[in-house]
């Protein structure tokens, strides 16, 4: 980790309400005002706890992006049977005409966008 990032982490004391709301939005969660306050404390604590990793010297460690030690795992371009439409839709909370159905998702839906 470079010095700039280290500095950034050290500076974390408490996340702002805005930051908590932003993280909640990315996680697709809606939080009440009380929850925002609650998680502001909890998330900050977690971050401060994880900061302990900063103490490790990683100068000589190679970046790892995979734990299995495997590489180059591929498959040939061959078709295998799919599951049926009925099976695919079996656990859908809502459906219509063979489609999964969700509530309208576009803010602006006066046209096919």
């Amino acid at each position: 980790m470079n010095d700039k990032n280290k500095q950034k982490l050290k500076n974390i004391k408490t996340l702002s309400e805005e930051e908590v709301k932003h993280i909640a939005k990315l996680a697709n969660l809606s939080l009440s005002n009380e929850e925002v306050k609650k998680f502001q404390g909890q998330l900050s604590e977690t971050l401060n706890f994880i900061q302990v990793l900063d103490e490790l010297n990683t100068e000589k460690a190679e970046p790892t992006n995979h734990a299995s030690g495997l590489s180059n795992i591929f498959r040939q371009d061959e078709i295998k049977p799919s599951i049926s439409q009925a099976e695919a839709l079996a656990n859908a909370p809502s459906l219509s005409d063979g489609f999964f159905k969700v509530k309208a998702i576009l803010e602006r839906n006066d046209d096919e966008i």
């Binding site: 495997l70 590489s71 795992i73 078709i79 599951i83 695919a88 219509s96 489609f99 969700v102």
Partner: protein
């Protein structure tokens, strides 16, 4: 206030035409199939499913990368791009972040005889999302999802923001489409959504000796080359007016997405764009990294070398067969016509039919709904041979007959010279009769008109 410069960057998605999907064995041919009939736990994002990359798709991306003069990275991997949208069943898309298969290339394209070079930033592989249909069921608005397309291999090509006109962007895209078709890795039909293009547009505006940049706008939902141009032109005008009114400059975090509406011929605000860090990219733990050996890289290069690309074919047609650049361009628009032409030239040699005879016939025919498609090259050559045999008389021979006919019909000649030009048809008929139909009527008309002038 003056528009100083238009800046356009292109992000292009192209569906690869593999048989199976990117990470599972479901069929990747999804157009107009029964909804949700081609899925499995992998492409539905069910827990515990294991994605395994399709080698053919990777090979196809690396072919595209080479055609775009990119370097092939020796180490590559897949990453998860996290965001929530109903067409993305896992809550993340398997994509590539910092180690795409190909980086840093360029592609030349031509506008009115001048060559331009577009810089390519990257070419990477990812999986497609499901397809959303926005509709109403029982009077209530809703969105329907079909996951047949989910997990199909999708190539993303990102250019530098260096196009300075909508025409440049469109011309580049047409060239790109032609290339992927020559590579036979994609059909890239825009109307079918097999090639999707998202231009990002902003402007540099000069005012009072200072330069300002307008906020970035990404345009979505464009499904034809014509609309690429229209949408960009609309956006340029909109941004200029918007800046005049509000004077908002480009800043981190104020990039927006606008959707092109074909009906209204305008772009409308869709959403504010997430920053890259909001996607929380991280290496895909289910797919081990990829390291290419030197031998494998050589194999990719050998494979690429075997493929003829349109530029090369066009210059071959010009130098080898003496075609004009425009003719070569028309013939090379698609690989089938180009190869058909070459086959015809080969066969024509024996019958002394020149490449120019063939190109003329072929271009005329291709205007008329490609009639030649029904004929084999051999039949096509025979047809040309017959029509040439039909008009076996050369200009000198026709000229002699014409002289004879004119001499015998002095009166008609006089009528013509007095302005009764319709008698020309009669004279052509007489020459044809003498020639027993072996004269090309166009040449007869030309010769007669010259002699009568």
């Amino acid at each position: 206030m003056k528009l100083k410069r238009i800046l356009i960057g292109l992000e292009i998605h192209i569906e690869l035409k593999t048989k199976s999907k990117m990470f599972c064995g479901c069929s990747a041919v999804h157009f107009e199939k029964i909804p949700n009939s081609q899925t499995c736990p992998v492409c539905l994002g069910l827990p515990g499913a294991l994605p395994v990359p399709n080698f053919k798709a990777i090979e196809s991306v690396i072919l595209i990368g080479q055609a775009l003069n990119c370097e092939i990275l020796k180490e590559s991997k897949f990453d998860r791009k996290n965001y929530f949208y109903p067409d993305l069943p896992k809550g993340y898309q398997i994509s590539q972040y910092d180690q795409p298969f190909c980086l840093n290339g360029w592609l030349e394209y031509k506008i009115q005889g001048t060559n331009y070079r577009a810089k390519i930033r990257r070419v990477h592989l990812e999986e497609d999302t499901g397809k959303l249909v926005h509709t109403q069921v029982k009077g209530k608005s809703c969105s329907l999802i079909d996951f047949n397309r989910s997990g199909c291999p999708l190539v993303e090509i990102v250019t530098e923001p260096e196009f300075d006109s909508s025409l440049a962007a469109k011309t580049f895209l047409e060239k790109l489409q032609k290339i992927v078709r020559y590579l036979e890795v994609a059909d890239a039909d825009m109307e079918k959504g097999q090639m999707r293009c998202e231009p990002t547009v902003n402007l540099e505006i000069e005012d009072g000796g200072k330069n300002y940049f307008t906020p970035l706008v990404e345009i979505k939902n464009i499904n034809s080359f014509r609309f690429v141009q229209k949408a960009i032109d609309f956006e340029v005008e909109r941004q200029f007016k918007d800046f005049e009114e509000k004077r908002i400059e480009k800043m981190p975090g104020n990039k927006t997405t606008r959707g092109w509406s074909e009906k209204k011929l305008e772009t409308g605000l869709q959403r504010t764009k997430e920053e890259a860090s909001d996607y929380r990219y991280f290496p895909e733990p289910d797919i081990p990294p990829i390291f290419w050996s030197d031998k494998q890289i050589t194999n990719f290069k050998e494979l690429f070398k075997k493929i003829v690309l349109p530029d090369k074919l066009e210059s071959r047609f010009i130098s080898l067969y003496g075609l004009r650049p425009e003719q070569a361009e028309i013939l090379c628009r698609d690989k089938e016509t180009a190869f058909y032409f070459e086959k015809c030239v080969e066969l024509g040699k024996i019958k002394k039919i020149t490449s120019l005879d063939i190109v003329n016939k072929l271009i005329n025919q291709s205007k008329k709904a490609k009639q030649f498609a029904d004929l084999s090259p051999k039949e096509f050559i025979e047809k040309i041979g017959e029509s040439q045999k039909l008009f076996s008389l050369n200009k000198e021979e026709i000229s002699l007959i014409a002289d004879r006919v004119l001499k015998e019909n002095q009166k008609i000649q006089d009528e013509y010279r007095k302005g009764k030009t319709q008698v020309l048809g009669f004279l052509i008929g007489l020459v044809q009769k003498e020639a027993k139909g072996k004269a090309d009527p166009r040449i007869v008309q030309k010769i007669l008109a010259e002699k009568l002038a």
